[in-house]
Symmetry: C2
Subunit: 164 residues, 2 copies
DNA sequence: CGTATAATTGAAAATGAATTTCAATTTCAT
DNA sequence: ATGAAATTGAAATTCATTTTCAATTATACG
């Protein structure tokens, strides 16, 4: 049945960091791109995050480390990270693309509060099984699936009952 | 278990049309808005569609019937239709919000081929149950959920084996 | 019926995220 | 070291979405 959430958002070990770097720079090599300090800084900042970050949010974090790195570079680097599987785009329903890191993380799903945009991750092996069953039925080769539940969280429900 | 897809995309009967009108105009009354020819025309055009339409696509269809109706009105009317449950937003992965009509349609999900973009709808009561279970667990009040499976369809797999 | 009032309309402007441009700079294979 | 090719980042652009506002229209009420 439904599993309790396991926190695998622990900060990356030095080992994991190196492994991610390796994946990233092998990818760059493969597509003929170059190793730069900016890309390094952005990768590191990204891996240290926990949440679902918009390009702008990551940009602000990166800027704290190195004020000379521009928004555009963060934007482009996130695309690269998504290309090599270290990040994945998450589209909630508020018109902003967010990224989460995918490295060493189990497949998970999202529950999003439509009031405050808070999101909770949950794990549901059932969703995976369902996905396989359905893909088989329609003769698809399933690569991934998204399962998102939208609703109103407990806090926001309390809020609306007792307005400030 | 998994159900075979039932085609409930048949053009709306006169009866269904009236029922939808009823829902729409009761909603307008409830929130203190007015009955206008434009809203009527947009509702009718929308109900006759089958696919997932962007605001702009619906606008183009509406304009064929009445060239004086503006984009903004279509945009606003779609929001109203979504408010009263006759339409629902579908987030595609191309940055454009689309709407599908929800009236008299069972809750369904999408399987999308990432090669040819073909989409198949499927029905899975399990996904609904899963959604309820998980919402309860996190004390959310669930309003809706999306379950999308991405993969490669049979045709595209054949294609890639025998390229043209 | 008018008439008053409040909502509607739609063109145009504004917004805002995503993307592209381009000149200056940096990387890296040789 | 050198030069070709990629990178950078500020600024400009794109494009869907949303807001503004003055003119128009629907509806309730006298």
């Amino acid at each position: 049945m439904l599993q309790k959430r396991i926190d695998d958002h622990a900060p990356p070990t030095r080992e994991a960091m190196r492994e991610a770097e390796d994946i990233f720079y092998k990818h760059l090599k493969r597509v003929g791109l170059k190793h730069t300090d900016q890309r390094d800084a952005i990768l590191h900042t990204f891996l240290e995050t926990r949440d679902h970050l918009s390009t702008d949010e990551l940009f602000r974090m990166v800027r704290k480390k190195d004020a000379k790195i521009g928004f555009t570079t963060v934007y482009r680097t996130l695309k690269l990270l998504a290309e090599c599987g270290l990040a994945s785009e998450v589209a909630f329903h508020d018109g902003v693309t967010r990224y989460e890191h995918q490295f060493n993380r189990r497949s998970h799903h999202h529950m999003v509060c439509t009031e405050c945009n808070a999101s909770v991750e949950f794990f549901s092996p059932e969703a995976g099984k369902l996905s396989e069953d359905i893909a088989r039925k329609f003769r698809f080769e399933a690569t991934r699936h998204t399962f998102q539940i939208y609703g109103i969280c407990e806090d926001c429900r309390k809020m609306s009952r007792k307005p400030v």
